[in-house]
């Protein structure tokens, strides 16, 4: 079965009901996408399917055949970070950091569709992503900041 991950077409051999999460992590070795709940309740496993945020822990790999997946490794790098990643560092967002890939994937999908989100827009896009360390106030501030930066650039 073929899937395109971060712009690269990959052939994977998995039983079709295997959640995409485990294919990404254990076969493609992209470990930035995390397991948190297995039921789409915490958002740690968020990736983009053709640009939309999905929960990879409840998405069977068969459902994404021949489609485009983006993971945290595909949105930016240390050398060339996504504006949200830069903003995350500036606001010291992460504590343990475990949920942050999922947070960034939800936030980047939001900004791609809405360059100027309000607090309510952010709440609505981000409330599926749980953070046990309690970094929500910083996430919200960092999203606003990145949106401002994108406007200026």
């Amino acid at each position: 079965m073929k899937i395109a991950v971060n712009g690269v077409e990959r052939v994977v051999e998995f039983e079709p009901d295997t959640p995409l999460l485990w294919v990404i992590r254990d076969e493609l070795k992209l470990k930035g996408t995390k397991f948190g709940c297995g039921k789409g309740l915490c958002g740690a496993c968020t990736v983009h399917l053709n640009g939309d945020p999905i929960r990879s822990c409840i998405t069977p790999v068969s459902a994404v055949e021949n489609q485009n997946i983006t993971t945290i490794e595909g949105i930016g790098s240390e050398e060339s970070p996504h504006p949200l990643q830069a903003s995350w560092v500036e606001f010291n967002v992460p504590q343990c950091g475990y949920c942050q890939s999922g947070q960034l994937m939800s936030a980047s999908a939001l900004l791609a569709k809405n360059a100027n989100p309000t607090d309510a827009d952010i709440d609505s896009a981000m409330s599926g992503n749980a953070c046990r360390c309690g970094t929500y106030p910083r996430i919200k501030a960092a999203i606003h900041h990145a949106a401002e930066n994108l406007k200026d650039s």
Partner: protein
């Protein structure tokens, strides 16, 4: 603990040891003294030289700091590195941090165990790490003075270079390293005065987050080793139950399955892929022997606590004045009862561990807060001794006390032995919720007495709760008594300690924050009635304080209303001898606009609590609509002594408040027929962004030694919310979680 006195017991020679490294660098080993609370008396007062923090300067001028604590997000890496950087006069982000391997040398001096918990990393290391780094700085300066043949006072160490005043002579730290190692260790290195600090109190950046926004940080769950298989375990649905019989035929027929076998607490399925293991697990047929907790329910448990409270007055842990006399003389006595449920930790990274067991050695990769206890966990289920076990502590996806318990490592080792290959054990969220070691459920009773004028004259507080160390000592004792053979591991708690002539360690976990009730009332008694229902319990962020603040700060609020006094003024009138408590209360009240009008439908509640040597006060602003509790704003004042990194202090208060609000509004693990009723984030909810209040943190300026910040933000929140709900509705909620419907 008193840094100065414990310090004085160890001579300078024992405290520091300088040596040249093989590559021409300079390393300094440092003994960080402290006081032991878990019965280990060897660390601070035997005078034995022990290195448990290492600083190294390489010939290439790299400064390497070996950190003996784990990073769970609490900011220890940044905090302790900043101390090193300050005295070496270099930017914190130029220091290379290495996490310490498992070794007795790296034991936390306050516990005698290699453990990160109790919010004490800065308080135990503040003086010693700065002194170590200042020693290195002075030895580098002395080396430069020798090279240039100038008096040492003309040399200055700045940003990795030692300069000679009034000249352009300059040598990098690395160029001086090997000569520095041969200098005599200064007997009294000069620590920077607070006015000279460049980073302490000013550094706001974290040094550990670049990889956390790229997905590159490697947590335990990300570990892979060659030849590894994936393992899951079916555990008894009834707490404490055991396997009676099982049939693995169908599970073994599942694609990818390598083996199915019984381990000490369930049935393990090992497969080539994680999902294959999960699918096979569903096909297991297991009959359980449900054991003594098979009929336990939370309701029945609280009934039994109530009965115990009546039958057993408990141990008097504080007795000021005479409460019985206060009752005899009272014009009025009130009596109320409170209770709190079990809570799970719910770290976002579920329990997991990779283990490889060979004939004479085992390797563990795990997100653990206590690596030397991980060695014992492995030894317990293998033929190895703890010394044969290497533990690689990975990045940790949330700790909150959960990873002080090594059960998941013990399980993984037991599976690896039978699988005869390396395995990665992973828990599901449901397993994580249902097989945690919980914050204990507790039941409390209060009595207060009033005189004729209406003033409070007596306070009686009865705590019905288990002792956490009863559970923890099974893990911890063998680390402290390495002479003990393995068959004794289960009994070391009592027998082992007795054989060493040491009293069982004092366990404050049930009473902390209650026994130290700060209010000046003439007759105070605090009693602990021990009650342990057999459900595994452990440390949960802020431990006993997390509940006892709710009890004490709710009941003191009741007394304020009973005496028709403003809750802030009432507390202040009884805190005259407690200046730091009084100051944070004043600051939180002031910043929240306490006493000033609020928009229609908004109400305030307040609480103040000391924990982990820090003082925190919070004012909550909320509204109640159709029984729904909406918390809009939390104002927090914190006094944690000298602040090393103000933004981390703020982040820990924000995080503590959100963690505590989750518990106050939603947190409940309930038991029915011996089974935990909750399973995932749909029925064990975490607070979400849209429910998160505005949080304002105000830090008290202080020159006292730094104290904890990871936990002290938690305790005041629940009572402040409950007190605001009382202000809003007149309903006094005496149990958690707080529910109006």
């Amino acid at each position: 603990m008193n840094d100065q006195s414990s310090h004085a017991k160890v001579s300078r020679r024992q405290f520091l040891k300088a040596s040249a490294t093989a590559g021409g660098g300079f390393s300094l080993s440092v003994f960080l003294p402290g006081c032991a609370v878990l019965g280990n008396k060897s660390l601070s007062d035997e005078g034995r030289w022990t290195a448990n923090a290492w600083l190294e300067i390489t010939p290439e001028s790299e400064v390497v700091f070996t950190l003996d604590r784990v990073e769970m997000g609490q900011g220890t890496t940044t905090g302790l590195t900043t101390l090193v950087a300050e005295e070496l006069n270099i930017a914190p982000d130029t220091v290379t941090v290495i996490y310490a391997p498992v070794a007795n040398d790296y034991r936390n001096p306050e516990y005698g165990l290699q453990m990160t918990g109790g919010s004490n990393s800065l308080s135990t290391s503040w003086g010693q790490i700065r002194e170590a780094a200042a020693t290195v700085r002075e030895m580098l300066m002395a080396a430069a003075a020798e090279v240039h043949q100038v008096p040492v006072k003309q040399c200055q160490a700045v940003d990795g270079v030692v300069l000679v005043e009034g000249s352009n002579k300059r040598l990098r730290y690395g160029e001086l390293a090997s000569l520095a190692a041969s200098q005599s260790i200064p007997s009294n290195p000069r620590l920077k005065a607070a006015s000279e600090f460049r980073f302490i109190g000013k550094q706001n950046k974290r040094v550990d987050i670049a990889d956390k926004v790229n997905g590159r940080t490697e947590y335990g769950i990300d570990t892979e080793v060659p030849g590894m298989a994936y393992a899951v375990i079916s555990r008894s649905p009834v707490l404490g139950g055991k396997v009676l019989t099982f049939d693995a035929t169908k599970a073994l027929d599942t694609k990818g399955v390598v083996a199915v076998f019984e381990v000490y607490n369930g049935i393990a399925v090992v497969a080539e892929q994680y999902w294959q293991a999960r699918k096979a697990q569903q096909k297991l047929e297991i009959e359980w022997e449900e054991g003594p907790l098979a009929t336990l329910s939370s309701d029945e448990m609280f009934q039994s606590f109530k009965k115990t409270a009546l039958e057993d007055d408990g141990k008097r842990v504080r007795d000021d004045g005479d409460f019985d006399d206060a009752v005899d003389a009272a014009a009025r006595v009130i009596e109320v009862e409170y209770q709190t449920p079990f809570l799970a930790h719910a770290t976002l990274e579920p329990m997991n561990c990779v283990v490889e067991v060979n004939e004479d050695r085992a390797n563990v990769w795990a997100p653990t807060q206590a690596p030397d206890l991980a060695r014992i966990a492995v030894a317990r289920v293998t033929d190895l001794s703890p010394d044969d076990v290497d533990v690689n502590v990975t990045a940790i996806g949330g700790g909150f006390g959960r990873r002080l318990t090594q059960d998941f490592i013990e399980e993984a080792a037991a599976v690896a032995v039978q699988a005869k290959r390396p395995i990665k054990l992973m828990w599901s969220r449901e397993e994580d919720t249902q097989h945690d070691w919980y914050r204990p459920a507790t039941y409390h009773k209060f009595k207060a007495t009033f005189d004729k004028s209406g003033s409070v004259t007596g306070w009686d507080h009865q705590i019905v709760a288990p002792n956490l160390l009863d559970w923890y000592i099974r893990d911890a004792a063998p680390a402290q008594y390495p002479w003990a053979p393995k068959f004794m591991y289960g009994t070391l708690g009592s027998i082992g300690l007795a054989m060493q002539g040491i009293a069982v360690p004092k366990d404050e976990t049930a009473i902390e924050g209650a026994v130290s009730m700060p209010y000046n009332i003439a007759n105070i008694q605090v009693r602990h009635t021990h009650a342990d229902i057999g459900v595994p319990v452990s440390f949960w962020r802020s431990v006993g304080h997390s509940q006892n603040a709710f009890y004490v700060e709710s009941f003191i609020d009741e007394l304020a209303h009973e005496t028709s006094t403003d809750p802030v003024l009432f507390r202040q009138s009884l805190l005259k001898d407690q200046p730091r408590q009084s100051r944070v209360l004043e600051l939180a009240a002031e910043q929240s606009g306490w006493g000033k009008p609020l928009p229609e439908g908004r109400f305030r509640g307040v609480a103040v609590h000391k924990s982990f040597k820090s003082y925190a006060a919070q004012v909550v602003e909320l509204s109640v609509e159709d029984g729904a509790i909406n918390v809009h704003r939390v104002v927090c004042a914190i006094d944690c002594g000298t602040v090393v990194n103000p933004d981390i202090v703020k982040a820990q208060m924000e995080g503590g408040i959100i963690f505590a609000l989750t518990a106050a509004l939603y947190g409940e693990i309930s038991v029915k027929n011996g089974r935990v009723e909750q399973s995932n984030f749909d029925d064990y909810k975490l607070l979400r962004m849209n429910e998160t209040p505005v949080i304002d943190v105000h830090i008290v300026e202080s020159t006292e030694s730094p104290t904890g910040v990871g936990e002290p933000g938690v305790p005041p929140l629940a009572p402040a919310v409950a007190n605001a709900i009382f202000a809003a509705t007149g309903n006094r909620l005496r149990s958690l979680p707080l529910r109006l419907t």
